[in-house]
Amino acid sequence: MTEIPEHLLKRAQAAREKAAESSAEPAGETAAPAAEADSRIPAHLLERSKAARTKAAGGDDDAGGGVAVADKVAAAVATPAAGGGVPVGAGPGGHTQRLLTVVKSGSIQEVKAQPVDKVHTWPHLLAAEFVASLACLVFTFLFSIWVNAPLLQLANNNQTPNPSKAPWYFLGLQELLTMFHPMVAGVTIPGVGIIMLIFAPYIDKNPSNKPEDRKFATSLMTVHLMFWAVLVMIGSFFRGPGFNFTLPWRDGLFFEL
């Protein structure tokens, strides 16, 4: 059988005693208790104010004085109720509620989210985005007016241009082809590169995003990006006929976008 907690047992016992008391007492014995029963002020508060007034009236007053005060209080409470205007237990301003206590938010709730300095997306962010896209559009538009996209002769499978170059973003790979076996240059190196890139967040366990805390990651990425950038530059501008090394200011450009 489950054990009933002690405090519940105590509470039940107290309630039982109280019920026995009230049934034993004959109803409406005096005016004061009746008024007290009618009053919405809890009995223990009345007791307390009674005691306080007794004390104020004179420390060594006898019980009779105390009773008299209690009667006065009870009468004061009961009279307006009989008058009917203000509700029973109304305060000086006619308020029926009282401030019992102030609970500070931190004492019962844990505040997890710190307030962040935020601004409205409109107009602050949307205006910036609008200007940026407009600038991008204007740039593309003007560049397209001044520079035409290349259109060489009709494709001919029997006539290989010299040099033949891939699109610029693959020229790093084509550059690697001059140094390694095609499988290494075209598959292994870019494959490892892209897999390292995909797994970067799982390899880099450093939680900080401060540049001074991530010197190694930053250096590694810079080396990686520079590796491709330099290869693309060489492939684009420094490779001429036969994909041999050339100087653009000496032999001209062999590069089409």
Binding site: H124, T140, L151, P161, P182, L197
Partner: protein, 261 residues
Amino acid sequence: MAKIIDETSRPTAKERFQQTVDSVQGSQAWASIFRPGSIFRKGYTDSPRNRSYVVMNSVLYHLHPVKVKRHAVKVSYTLCLGGLSFFLFILLTVTGIFLMFFYRPEATAAWDDISNLQTSVTFGLLVRNMHRWGAHLMVLAVFLHMSRVFYHGAYKPPREFNWVIGVILLTLTLLLSFTGYLLPWDQLALWAVAVGTNMMGYTPVFGQEVRFVLLGGAEIGSETLLRWYVLHVLFFPFIIVIFMAIHFWRVRKDGGISGPL
């Protein structure tokens, strides 16, 4: 004696215009188009509530929260690179649809179509130029966006997976650009693609098979053109839009823009 002349003044043009506007904005059709709280229902006056409503009650809410961190607005942090990549994608879609009206993906017709587009179609040359330069610019923007994200450590938890999607998007961007490279069917297109696909053939185990499927034969020809056209205008855009949707959704779900440093 009853007055014959009506003394109320006739409504002015401004009042009549206002009446029309009110009746349109009060109509059921208007209310069905614009959500409650939309600025198009009651008009816009600058207030914090209306600033919130602009985003909250429009399709923009899919992209942006109502409020963003103050440092996110600083252009020097992101340089707008992600947004510009998306904008360039939209620009390329618009110009690309225009180009599709004048282009047939056949070896006998493709080059002539491009040539005619440049010489006989109004704005044809301009739109083709914008498509080409926009494509190069997009590759550059996506690459720079990735670099920016790396240098800001913006791929760290909880954004790891969005970085993975970002790398996939970079790869898809390169593939979109590369498949489009063949379509003009000139010497530049043919031989650039030849160099690129020859490299692909060296992939171990299935390299030759993949190359054969992509080219529609052993060499680049009319079948290749059709395949790459479909890949360029339908397949890769479809895939990239899905990944972009996930990418943008995760940006918001992972707590908006990263930082500050």
